[in-house]
Amino acid sequence: MRNLNKLSRFFIVGPLIALVLAVILITFTTDRFMTAQNLMNVSLQVSAVAIAAIGGTMVILTGGIDLSPGSSVALTTCVLAVLVKLMGLPLPLGILVVLVMGAAMGAVNGVLTAYGRIPTFIVTLATLSVYRGLAFLITEGTPIFNISPGLDRVFYDRLFGIPLPFYYVMVLYVMTYVFLRHTSLGRAIYAVGGNESAARLSGIQVKRVRLAAFVLAGFTASISGVLLAARLNSGSPNYGVGLELQAIAAAVIGGASLSGGIGNIVYTLFGALTVAVVQNGLNLNAVPAAWQNITLGLIIVLAVSLDMWRADLGRGLSRIFSFQRSEEKQDRTTSD
């Protein structure tokens, strides 16, 4: 039993080990990695992925998958640009509108999957196409630059010397941690992903839970979109390409099980950091973009296969464990 705890702890700490390994590896390949400037860059870069990965993790926890955040991000930046630059809406109001729109985009995914009973993969693959299409439609395909001078500050301002995105990430992750661990809805998300039938028979309103997870995913995607728009002070239908894959990679590297019900949001953050560090390392070593995509794909496959092996390992352990338990029982009866 002690061995079992040790092993399971190893697998929980796994994401952290992956991150440390990536850091060590990259430090050895280039001396430009471990500089204050570069680390700052990495932490700024990671913010968009890390925040989108929050929603991605929640959908994965319910046993679904969200392929749409990259396109939601693109549409968010474009709508923000159109509202603020072309229609003259005040910036704070513009941001508020796109955040609500993000939740609505998530709601569309959620309604179609939960109430329309279409698999999440198909629905979000469709909206991946639709949302980016809408982004092209409203911008006529051209990026909109210099949205608003105030927008820069959302991304580049500092508080106590630390850039704001750091705080956004921290606050959102702490909130999500509390939400998943200490609210009924958070618990229901795990329950639905763990056993949908048992969840229904235990009185959980499964459809509403699925819908809620997607609304939150759409919401975090739009926050991610606002950050991206602020970083470049522009809106473009070409932003956020491949973000969905990075978000899924973050969740899976963080140990979230694609079959649902298992995962920890804190480790998703480690997963997102791992993705960002690997990307940064490849950039610093001047690896072409094509190879970066290939690397990300390989990392996802590796992380998912670890997830599968973990299931096998768990079964093996449970056999050993039940054997030990019967021994324990004997011990107890003899000592009684």
Binding site: R187, G193, A199, R200, S202, G203, G261
Partner: protein, 501 residues
């Protein structure tokens, strides 16, 4: 004697054990050509195991199977098919979106010389097979659009098109109405006159007496007897099925109070409940007896908001209720321990405490947030109360034994303060010790004034633990009696249809 040809199939001393049960214990049996051989026994007596050995789905631990006197080993269901055994299970093996002809040749399409599928030939052969069996169904009909009975007939036709000599049917009439059953029986008789052997497994004694030539009764994995149907009366068979039970102690407490908890009047659903009326008193264990598929689980589903009632009223503590979701039923104080606790009851991604609190999370709220400390405390409390293993507090519930898992699910409803608890086969697949634990928990619950609707196919258990019992057949309640006034013999007689209504 010596000159007589050997029987088609002869089973000699077949034994098969599963973890915890001896499913078959040195069973011997002969199956003759042209005979309809009925296999009878209570739930869990080994009928299906025996059939699966013949179908190649199970491998006997010991014993021999002789086909026309020669020993054969069936490694795989396809081996059985190759040896002329066709099996029709309760679940159909037809593909609903394909046509009748396509289904008939599923997995072994006829091909033209060029390697293309020969549709023409397949359709022609299907037509002739159906004609041979006097089944009037269009070979081009899509299976989904056929009635259940028609699908059953197609299933048989498909089995016969494999040129089988033995046809095994497991509860073939479970889903059929009276007229359809008659049609099926005609077909079976016709097959027998063509020289096929038929092994007919059924709970329904009335049917067996209408159709079978010979009857074999199994009890706890052993063969009680094999007799020609003419030598037997129905009550002989019932007595053989019950056998002499080893006296088992059931720690029954009578905690029923005069007040009524649940009142059901004329309840019907589309899913097989036909106008049932009964009431359950506070602290009473109300048993539903009947065969598998009689409609007991369906009654539970209607009460739990899973199946929508078409007619009738349900009153809980005098108040009319109508649940359209389990959420509403739970809020009103109804709980369900489902038959399949792994698939429908437990969260394997959770440890014991979250499994217990899931139906009443608001009990954990402290200042709007779930208190995990409180959850651990509650978990510990129920672990003590129901003597669940303390391992449940630390590990996910997949590591627990069946009995402990079951108690975790029951604890869930204790914590959610259910007033009426539906227990669907609560002791299925748990060992004797754990069964006694479950009985003890039932007493504890009723002492607290919780009412229990007990569904169990273990008749001695049902009779001993219930205060009153309703016998269910075809979705209707045939009789309600105090448990003490009903013998296992009577229960089985009524439930199996050995007495006509």
């Amino acid at each position: 004697m010596q000159n007589q040809p050997p029987p088609l199939w002869q089973l000699v001393d077949l034994s098969k054990a599963f973890p915890g049960v001896q499913a078959l214990d040195t069973v011997s049996l002969s199956i003759e050509r042209g005979q309809i051989h009925a296999l009878l026994g209570e739930n869990g007596s080994g009928k299906t195991t025996l059939a699966k050995c013949l179908a190649g789905a199970h491998h006997p631990d010991s014993g021999q199977m002789l086909l026309e006197g020669a020993p054969v080993t069936l490694e795989h269901p396809l081996d059985a098919v190759a040896h002329g055994v066709a099996t029709i299970y309760q679940e159909f093996s037809l593909v609903p979106s394909l046509t009748v002809a396509e289904n008939m040749f599923l997995g072994r399409p006829l091909k033209k010389r060029a390697g293309l599928v020969d549709w023409e030939q397949m359709r022609r052969q299907t037509t002739s097979t159906l004609q041979e069996l006097a089944i009037q169904i269009d070979p081009d009909a899509v299976v989904r659009q056929l009635s259940v009975a028609e699908q059953q007939l197609i299933e048989i036709a498909k089995a016969m098109s494999l040129e089988s000599s033995l046809l095994i049917m497991d509860e073939p009439t479970a889903a059929l109405g009276l007229a359809e059953t008659r049609r099926l029986h005609e077909l079976i008789r016709r097959l027998a006159t063509q020289g096929k052997a038929i092994l007919y497994i059924s709970h329904r004694l009335d049917e067996v007496f209408q159709i079978a030539d010979r009857v074999t009764v199994l009890k706890d994995g052993r063969r009680v007897d094999t007799r020609a149907i003419g030598e037997l009366q129905m009550n002989d068979v019932v007595r053989m099925m019950i056998g002499v039970d080893i006296e088992q102690h059931y720690p029954k407490e009578a905690n029923s109070r005069p007040e009524v908890c649940l009142q059901v009047e004329d309840l019907s659903t589309q899913n097989g409940v036909n106008g049932v009326s009964f009431d359950i008193r506070v602290g009473e264990v109300f048993g539903l007896g009947g065969m598998v598929g009689a409609g007991r689980t369906e009654i539970a589903k209607a009460l739990y908001g899973l199946d929508r009632p078409e007619t009738g009223t349900v009153r809980l503590y005098g108040k009319p209720v109508r649940f359209s979701t389990p959420t509403e039923a739970i809020a009103a104080g109804v709980g369900l321990v489902p038959e399949n606790r792994k698939a429908d009851g437990l969260f394997f991604n959770f440890e014991g405490p979250p499994n217990i609190t899931i139906s009443r999370l608001k009990g954990l709220l402290r200042g709007g947030f779930l208190s995990l400390g409180e959850e651990r405390r509650i978990g510990g409390e129920y672990v003590r109360k129901l003597s669940i293993t303390p391992i449940a507090l630390e590990r996910t519930v997949q590591f627990l034994s069946g009995g402990n898992q079951q108690k975790v699910v029951i604890a869930r409803w204790l914590y959610s303060q259910a007033k009426l608890l539906i227990l669907d086969e609560p002791t299925q697949g748990v060992d004797i010790g754990a069964k006694l634990e479950v009985y003890r928990v039932i007493n504890e619950l009723t002492r607290q004034g919780i009412s229990i609707l007990l569904i169990s196919s273990d008749y001695p258990e049902l009779l001993a633990m219930s205060d009153r019992i309703a016998v269910v057949r075809d979705g209707s309640i045939l009789q309600v009696a105090a448990a003490g006034e009903l013998s296992e013999y009577e229960l089985l007689t009524i439930a199996s249809g050995a007495v006509s209504k």
